[in-house]
């Protein structure tokens, strides 16, 4: 009887997550999960992780009260968790440090990674250089063209960038090719996955590495305000900065958690990447989660002005948090994000990443509906230097105007 086989609930958040992978990947993932379990409980590993977060990336990142922006908006106080002040300008490095230290422990010599906009690729390349490991980054051919500067950055730090030539030639295909390469070379190669997605143990491992964000922020907020924020808001692409922000607040039932997805040009299929808002459960890249599908059940094509948010699935833990009602998921459009991008730049002198601008955009809508003694903590997942050229192009072509 088939029912004899033991069903382990490993890697599931409710019905989401799991390990929907071909047999060839199972032993590799088992090895990884076992190694991570051991490392997680080893004070030496945690010490090393903390050392690099502190000395290499400059943690802790501060929380910052946006007095000017709050005044301009009216209503609740807007606070930022300044993940943009990390080394390399985004939260991504928290995860790459954690994973590469694990890779080193496992005796791996090479790193492979996928990247969409190039932010994770850059973080992977940097940490691989730091640890003296060979690094290969898979990137869709279309993205390589769109993100030339990041491609050059990766190369400068010694990484090889391999174009993914199949399908839409973007992030989805880069993941396919990275997984294929990993199956073949797992003996000496570690797959450094960039968000809280993929088969078990990645979603929980990436969450653990990113949860430093919320852990710091919660304590900092308590220290400075003597209370917790009313809202925590983060943008959601794969969901790593959001789950990193939410995790330590999940137990604080009075704190509302809001993830913000990109509604791009609109809510028609192909115009957005608002997976949790508009998707239905499906299986892709080895895990079950909300997913945007076409009428055939295939992963839909997605769009957002910010390349770091356009993925047709999402980290499985978010699907779970949505279903149990612990977090809610909203969306912000390209134009709302651009508007928030300029607002923060002009009121506070902080240029946010377009990804983070989505979280900010929702905060700007929310704040005026709340009272002045309420507080909103927005995770500013990255800085916007990488987006400046794109914004300039949009202004030059007349698609947007500088306010």
């Amino acid at each position: 009887m088939t029912t004899e086989t033991t069903v382990t609930a490993e890697g599931f958040f409710g019905e989401y997550g799991g390990q929907y992978v071909p047999e060839a990947l199972i032993p590799i993932l088992d090895e990884l999960a076992a190694a991570y379990d051991k490392a997680k409980n080893d004070p030496e590993f945690q010490k090393e992780f903390t050392y690099y977060l502190t000395k290499y990336s400059g943690r802790p990142t501060p929380i910052y009260r946006c007095a000017n922006l709050t005044k301009a908006c009216g209503g609740a106080q807007i606070w930022l968790k300044r993940e943009d002040l990390n080394h390399l300008g985004a939260h991504k490095v928290n995860n790459t440090i954690g994973q590469i230290l694990l890779a080193k422990r496992m005796g791996k010599k090479k790193i492979i990674a996928e990247t969409g906009a190039g932010q994770h690729g850059v973080a992977a390349a940097a940490t691989a250089a730091l640890m003296g490991m060979e690094c290969t980054v898979y990137m869709g051919e279309v993205d390589i063209e769109r993100q030339k500067l990041n491609v050059f950055r990766m190369k400068m730090m010694g990484a090889e960038v391999v174009p993914a030539m199949s399908g839409q030639r973007t992030l989805k295909e880069a993941v396919d090719e990275a997984l294929g390469a990993w199956i073949e070379h797992a003996d000496d190669t570690f797959y450094l996955l960039g968000s809280a997605v993929g088969p078990h143990p990645y979603p929980s491992m990436v969450r653990d590495f990113q949860s430093i964000i919320g852990r710091e922020a919660r304590q900092q907020f308590l220290d400075e305000q003597g209370k917790l924020p009313d809202y925590c808001i983060a943008c959601v692409g794969g969901g790593s900065n959001a789950i990193g922000m939410f995790t330590d607040f999940v137990g604080d039932k009075e704190v509302k958690l809001v993830g913000v997805e990109p509604s791009g040009r609109g809510l028609e299929p192909g115009d957005h990447a608002a997976t949790l808002c508009l998707g239905t459960p499906g299986i892709m890249h080895g895990f079950n989660s909300y997913m945007l599908k076409d009428e055939n059940g295939e992963p839909a094509s997605v769009y957002s002005i910010s390349a770091g948010l356009d993925y047709p699935s999402v980290g499985p833990e978010h699907s779970y948090l949505k279903d149990i009602g612990r977090a809610t998921y909203e969306h912000a459009s390209d134009m709302e994000a651009v508007d928030a991008f300029f607002k923060l730049s002009q009121t506070e002198g902080i240029i946010p990443a377009l990804e983070s601008s989505h979280a900010l955009a929702y905060a700007l809508k929310l704040a005026p509906t709340l009272s002045a003694d309420q507080t909103i903590l927005v995770n500013l997942s990255g800085r916007g230097d990488k987006d400046v050229a794109e914004i300039e192009k949009l202004i030059a072509s007349g698609q947007i105007t500088m306010p």
Binding site: M1, Y20, V21, A24, P27, D176, G180, P281
Partner: protein, 257 residues
């Protein structure tokens, strides 16, 4: 199980069986029809019909590209089911579906297996639903008499081979190398030892796929495995030389002139 009985009966008077594969709707269903005719008329024992999915994580570039092109010109799951029904009615060999779990999930597990039974598909190969993930999947397969074929990999531990071997029906698909479909395989001592290990963990027939291209490859499997499975090679062949070249290729694999 219908698939196992059928294959075992065929195996009685052949030293090795030949199973082939194609991606439905690639390059189009008319070509699929012609290729299948060539395969069956020249002595293929069973055929895998792959329902295209855009993220075929177990497959290499050839099948990935074929799947994507098929989807691009609008192949639907319902087209694949209608086509399979037509093939099952026309040819007297067992047909299997090969696809990925999202397709089954979207269709509905029970509805999918019910449909397979209704149209006479005998087995399914869904590489991304390991036993641990597939409680209801394997139950519905059993209920509707469809054989789920599971996979052994060289990196599978003995313990895992026990689990997957128990769960598999029809035969066990033994992948002889690390990596995705399409790349060349070694057919030396390593393979022999690996197949001995596979044999230890299941009494089902052993099929070997991934990288079989020549009569020499097939011969290397005789006495060690029961089914030689040919995938990417025929797709490349049809791309390059057309459907009519499949017949001679099959005869050559069977050691005929």
């Amino acid at each position: 199980m219908k698939l196992e009985e059928n294959l075992r009966r065929r195996r009685e008077n052949k030293e090795i069986l030949l199973m082939t594969h194609l991606v439905l709707g690639y390059p189009d269903f008319d070509t699929n029809r012609e290729v299948i005719a060539q395969m069956v008329e020249n002595g293929v024992d069973s055929i895998e019909l792959q329902i295209p999915f855009s993220e075929p994580v177990a497959d290499g570039p050839v099948i990935l590209k074929a799947s994507q092109e098929s989807l691009d010109h609008g192949t639907k799951v319902s087209d694949c089911i209608n086509f399979a029904k037509e093939m099952v009615e026309k040819w007297d060999i067992p047909f299997l579906f090969m696809t990925y779990y999202n397709i089954v999930f979207k269709y509905g597990e029970e509805a999918f297996f019910k449909k397979c039974a209704e149209i006479g598909i005998t087995g399914v190969i869904v590489p991304d639903i390991p036993p641990e993930m597939g409680g209801s999947f394997y139950q519905f397969a059993e209920q509707y008499g469809i054989s789920p074929v599971l996979i052994f990999a060289p990196t599978s531990s003995d313990e895992r081979m026990e689990i997957t071997g128990k769960c598999s029906r029809g035969f066990v698909y033994c992948v002889p190398r690390k990596g995705v479909t399409g790349a060349k395989s070694e057919f030396g001592d390593g393979l022999t030892q690996y197949l001995v290990r596979c044999r230890k963990h299941t009494s089902l027939l052993l099929g070997v796929g991934f990288g079989i291209e020549s009569r020499a490859n097939v011969e290397a499997l005789i006495g060690k495995a029961d089914i030689a499975i040919i995938g990417s090679k025929t797709i490349k062949l049809v791309d390059e030389k057309g459907a009519a070249s499949v017949g001679p290729f099959i005869r050559q694999l069977l050691g005929e002139k």
